[in-house]
Symmetry: C2
Subunit: 162 residues, 2 copies
């Protein structure tokens, strides 16, 4: 069965042609969502949350999804697509957790995220402590990587020398 | 612009006609995902993660989304739909964080989630510590509710008397 989703707005980022993994937040207002007409009222009270989920359509993906993928930073390791965050997946829906910086009319300013400028926004959901924050979560197969310590710097967006 | 998504499997739960908010985990294998043919290989290594995200299509929703909603347990408070987890939203995509209990062929057994039996599954993503776990997250407007303490029992799925 198929389902049709509609674009509700656009994600703006500085990444025109290449998006880094989990970019460092620049501190400027360069990451923001711009909602289409008719959706602004739905942003009421969103600014009271420190974090939100963004769901978006990875519109630049053109490849067909493989069931086994090899993330570029994983040293050749192959894992199932559902054990990866690869954008090349059966349904190319992206999910990011970002900070809610401010809400102004139809715009929501956020911390950095690794998507291309112009990415179609599908949904915004509040990230709710207890419901979404799982302190006992783990790193799965990433723990087995040789450079796990270095990798977590990328995951957490901490600047570092290579 | 519209996008087409496809069902990759089905979510099985005990909830045929009513789904509680954040149900208590029964401990039995009654919550599981069943993937369609051709997707099982994508589950490789998923069992190494303690938590996963499920994305699903809230197929029982028939109402048109309002931009302002009043969650049933929020004592009449009205909030923007994007500051809520209401399934009645512009794109009725549901998102849940659940435990990965076990993976067997095309099935993934999980902790409890509040969706109807038969809900179409769209995606599974690993929940990765640091990337998705935000200890400094807050409760947003939920903090203002009179019975916040009671509500967090529901959010965390802790059994209690009413």
């Amino acid at each position: 069965m198929n389902f049709t989703l509609k674009q509700i707005g656009t994600i703006h980022t500085p990444y025109k042609n290449s998006a880094p993994y989990q970019p460092v937040d620049t501190g400027e207002d360069v990451f923001f969502l711009e909602l289409f007409d008719g959706y602004s009222e739905g942003l009421q009270d969103l600014s009271m949350f420190s974090y939100m989920y963004l769901l978006y359509y990875a519109h630049r993906v053109t490849q067909k999804a493989d069931m086994v993928v090899s993330p570029p930073w994983a040293g050749g390791k192959e894992v199932g697509v559902f054990a990866s965050r690869s954008p090349v997946r059966p349904n190319p829906i992206g999910l990011s957790v970002v900070q809610v910086k401010s809400v102004a009319e139809n715009r929501v300013y956020s911390s950095g995220l690794d998507v291309f400028d112009g990415t179609p926004l599908l949904d915004i959901k509040p990230y709710i402590k207890d419901l979404d924050d799982k302190p006992e979560a783990n790193y799965g197969w990433l723990s087995d990587l040789d450079d796990m310590e270095h990798l977590t710097l990328h995951i957490r967006g901490i600047p570092h020398e290579h």
